[in-house]
Structure formats: structure tokens, C-alpha cells
Amino acid sequence: MLEVKNLMVFYENAIAVNNISMTVTEGKITGVFGANSAGKSTLMRTISGIILDQKKKQEMKGGERITVLGSITFAGEDIIHMKPSDRARKGIILCPERRRIFAESSVMENLKIGGILATRSQAKKTLDYVFTVFPALKELKKREGGFLSGGEQQMLAIGRALMAQPKLLLLDEPLLGLSPLMEQMLVKAMHGINKQTGITTIIAEQYARPILPIVHYGYVLENGGAVVEGTSRELMKNPDVKSAYFGL
């Protein structure tokens, strides 16, 4: 479904993503793990194309030079130069790090904005689905996005991304700063969404332990490069990975 080949991303001369190649299987969850500054977010931003917008803005300002090399193939088409909004139209939806909820809009309006790409019937169906997965959101319909707790915001961010009818859902650090209880609930929800809808998903997380059981295949990044990859069982067995990332 998604094929990343020899992807390199530079900020000026600093390398953020170093020669990463990865394959994402249709209908499965793929994990991307690594510490801070390992290149997870840059990878996600590059797949979703937001990096191109960042690049354009930096170029206008005469600021940091961003370079993207390599190829990203989605459903048989090379998308590395495609605008982010066009990629979203093709079904690549990023649920960004720190959630980026529309703070002045209500929960309902956030979901409506998420559904801009959807047809009326798709939007209606997905809205019902989002409320079954996250019943808490239904109660908070009228609340402004800025007044939600971190966990509620994360649920809303995932719901909003689902409204955009993703074929490939990119979740960047969905568990950032959440309580263990909320963490558990979200992991279950993400697993359920994948099982029920079959949406291909990539989850980038720093803390792999709660995510690992639900991923099909995972990559461990270090300093921008993929150092280890394998199925979730292989990763769990790998002694280096175990000690460094899972705290086992």
C-alpha cells in the first residue's frame, strides 16, 4: 500500500531521516518506534506531505533549508512532490503530534471540519462510528476544543482524522502525556478501529510497550535511521530493543 524507499530528509546539514525504506501492508498496523529526535515525526510529516509546506515557508523566509530525497509510493503512485492537501484527498491523513485541535471550534465543529473531504452520507456514517468508538465525545459535543483534557483532545483528533475518510491513517505520538488508564483505552480503541474498518495505520510512538502488542510490523529508528525492524514478536524478543526501548 505504502512503499518508502531510501528516504532522506535534511534540515540544513543536519540529517533527520537517514535512508529509511519501509513497507506498509494494507489493512495492518505498522509501528515506528524511537526516542526523541529519532526522526519519527519528520518521517510522518514527510509521508503526509506537511514537510513540503514547512519547506516552502522556510524558503520564502530565507530560513532553514529543508531537503527531501528518495521516493514514497502510495497505491502505485509516486507522491513525493504531491501537495499535502492532495495527499489527504488520496486518503493519507495525519493525526499530528500534540493533536492540534481547532481550539476555538466546538467538538462537533472539529469533526465537521474533519469531514470536509467526505460526502454527506460518509460524514454521517463516520460521525456515528466515531461516537460509538469514543462515547465520551458525544457528551462533549458542544465543548470548545481548547477546553478539553489531553485525553479528550486525543480522542477528538483521532475522530477528526477518521472523518476525513482515511485509507492510510498516520498517528503521531497518540499517547503523548496521557495517564496509563487513558493510554490503555486509546490503544484498545486504535486496535478496534483497525480491526473494524480495516484502515491501514502507522503509529509512531516513543514508548513502545503499550503499542507493540497491536502492531503487525514495526521499525525502530535511531538518529534518523531504521536500526531494527520485524514483526511485533521479533521486536519483543530482540534483546537490544528490549533493554533500550521497552524498559523490560
Binding site: 520564502m60 492532495d86 465543529e109 471540519i113 470536509i116 473531504l117
Partner: protein, 295 residues
């Protein structure tokens, strides 16, 4: 007393109408459109010209002028501002230059027999020529149309931005451009639409307000300054703030005129602006853009 209330409201709504297009564009795309006043005047002259030179039906002339204005707004974005986004100083200079070309172009003489729009000869007819007496105050129909038009614009814009897909994309881009892009909103397209809409709104203000006086090119500068004043006092990009600021300025003006005389009008206007900014530098309803992060 009653006349202060009524004429104050007319003044305030006039300010709102003038400022709403500017606020919309700035709120959505952070682009200060300094060609705003020029578009206002241009619509006035185009309408006049269509009615008097081409003998078009008045409402049709208005509609055509508004269409041309929004096209021009879109063009300003497509040709110039798209290359400058994120560079506030360049945006101001470029859009102001565009406005200057329009305003000074209107006064050019002698090219292809064009006589230039100079002097007090250009008057748009009032929609309805009548006077009413409301609560003992004499008021002409055009001023009532201004109030009605202002109200209609606010209501329609609210509905548009809350219930249509394009309106929702405008609001999304206004709040977090990149997050909106991730959901499939094309930022350049939305910014272009916002400029087109802003231009049409400035033109609409022109056709309802201008029948009260002459159409002159100089008015373009004054309109721009009013729009800026209202937006800065209200808090840049805040719609509610802009409306509130319009009422503050509108009533400050009418009060100064009726108590101190018309000479004080501009002094009181500027004084109010300075006072508000001293006590609330970000404007009446200006928000700190960074919301506290919740983790």
C-alpha cells in the same frame, strides 16, 4: 438623545461594513489587504460608469462590479501575495502598491480619451429616495439600508462560516493552517477565496454607503485607515472585536460631533484609538494566539 442613538448606530454599522472584509481576509489568511480601500472606491466608480456610460440597470451594474472586484481580489492573491505569504512587510507593501495603482489609475487623464475620475461629479443614486421618522428622528432610507445591509452581512457570514464546507475550511485555516491541510484543505485556494470574498464585501460596503455622498478616489485612503483602525482596536482577526470596535468608534464620533462640534471628530477618533491601545495593546478582544498547551 434618540438621534444620537440612531445616527450612532448608522455610523457604527458603516464602520463594521467597511472593516468586515479586511477582518475576514486577515483572520483567515493573516494577509493584511492594503488594497481594501482601493477596491471599495473602484466598485463605486465601476458602478457609476456602468450606469451612466453603459446605461445598465442599477442592480445589474452593482452585481457586475462586485464580481469584477472579487475577481480582482483573487487575482491579487494569485499573482502577487501567493509569493509573499509569511512576510508581513512585503505583503503590506505589495498590496498597498496594488491599491495605489488602482486609486491613482482612476485619476489618470488622457489615456485613450479617459478623462479620469476627478472632482465631485460622481454620485451613486440612492436605492430608495424617501425619508422616515423613527421615534421622532428624521432618517433617510439609505441609512436604514446601511443598517439592514450590515445586519444581513453579519448573519450571512456567520451562517456561511458555520454551515458550508468552504466556510468551515476558512475557519479551519484561520485556526491552524497545517492541521487544516492534513485534513485536505488547500490553503492557497482558501486564501484566494477569502480575498475574493473580502473584495466583494468591501464593494458591497461601497454600494450601500456611497450613495450618501460623492465617489472620490481620495476616499480609498480614508476607508483603508478606518478598516485598519477598527481591526486593530478590535484585535486583529477577531470578528466580534471588529464589530465591538465599530460601535465604540461610531458612538465616539457621534458624541464628539454633537457635544463638541464636527471639528473635533477626527481628534476624538484618533484619541479613542490611542486610549484603547494604551490600556489593551492587543485590542478589545484580541487573543493571545498561543493557547495554553494541555498534556
Amino acid at each position: 438623545m434618540m438621534d444620537i442613538l440612531i445616527y450612532g448606530t448608522v455610523n457604527s454599522v458603516t464602520f463594521s461594513l467597511i472593516a468586515v472584509g479586511f477582518t475576514l481576509v486577515y483572520g483567515v489568511s493573516r494577509l493584511p489587504n492594503f488594497a481594501h480601500g482601493a477596491l471599495y472606491v473602484l466598485v463605486g466608480f465601476m458602478t457609476w460608469s456602468f450606469v451612466n456610460d453603459l446605461n445598465l440597470y442599477y442592480p445589474l451594474a452593482i452585481i457586475i462590479s462586485l464580481c469584477i472586484a472579487s475577481l480582482l481580489g483573487a487575482l491579487i492573491y494569485r499573482l502577487v501575495l501567493i509569493r509573499l505569504r509569511g512576510l508581513p512587510t512585503s505583503e503590506i507593501i505589495a498590496s498597498f502598491a496594488f491599491g495605489l495603482i488602482i486609486l491613482e489609475g482612476l485619476r489618470l487623464q488622457g489615456i485613450g480619451g479617459f478623462k479620469g475620475f476627478i472632482g465631485p461629479f460622481y454620485v451613486l443614486p440612492a436605492f430608495v429616495d424617501a425619508k422616515f421618522r423613527i421615534a421622532g428622528v428624521l432618517i433617510d432610507a439609505q441609512r436604514l439600508i446601511i443598517i439592514g445591509g450590515g445586519l444581513a452581512v453579519v448573519i450571512l457570514l456567520w451562517l456561511f462560516t458555520h454551515y458550508s464546507k468552504i466556510g468551515l475550511s476558512l475557519r479551519a485555516i484561520a485556526q491552524d493552517e497545517q492541521a487544516a491541510m492534513m485534513l485536505g484543505v488547500d490553503s492557497d485556494r482558501v486564501a484566494m477565496i477569502s480575498l475574493a470574498l473580502g473584495a466583494a464585501l468591501s464593494g458591497f460596503a461601497a454600494v450601500v454607503i456611497l450613495p450618501l455622498g460623492n465617489v472620490t478616489a481620495e476616499a480609498g485612503y480614508r476607508v483603508l485607515i478606518y478598516a485598519l483602525a477598527v481591526c486593530i482596536i478590535g484585535g486583529l482577526g477577531s470578528w466580534g472585536g471588529a464589530i465591538l470596535a465599530s460601535f465604540v468608534l461610531g458612538f465616539a464620533m457621534i458624541l464628539s460631533t454633537s457635544f463638541f462640534g464636527a471639528v473635533w471628530e477626527s481628534v476624538v477618533l484618533v484619541g479613542t484609538i490611542i486610549l484603547i491601545l494604551i490600556f489593551k495593546p492587543s485590542g478589545l478582544l484580541g487573543k493571545q494566539k498561543e493557547l495554553e498547551e494541555r498534556v
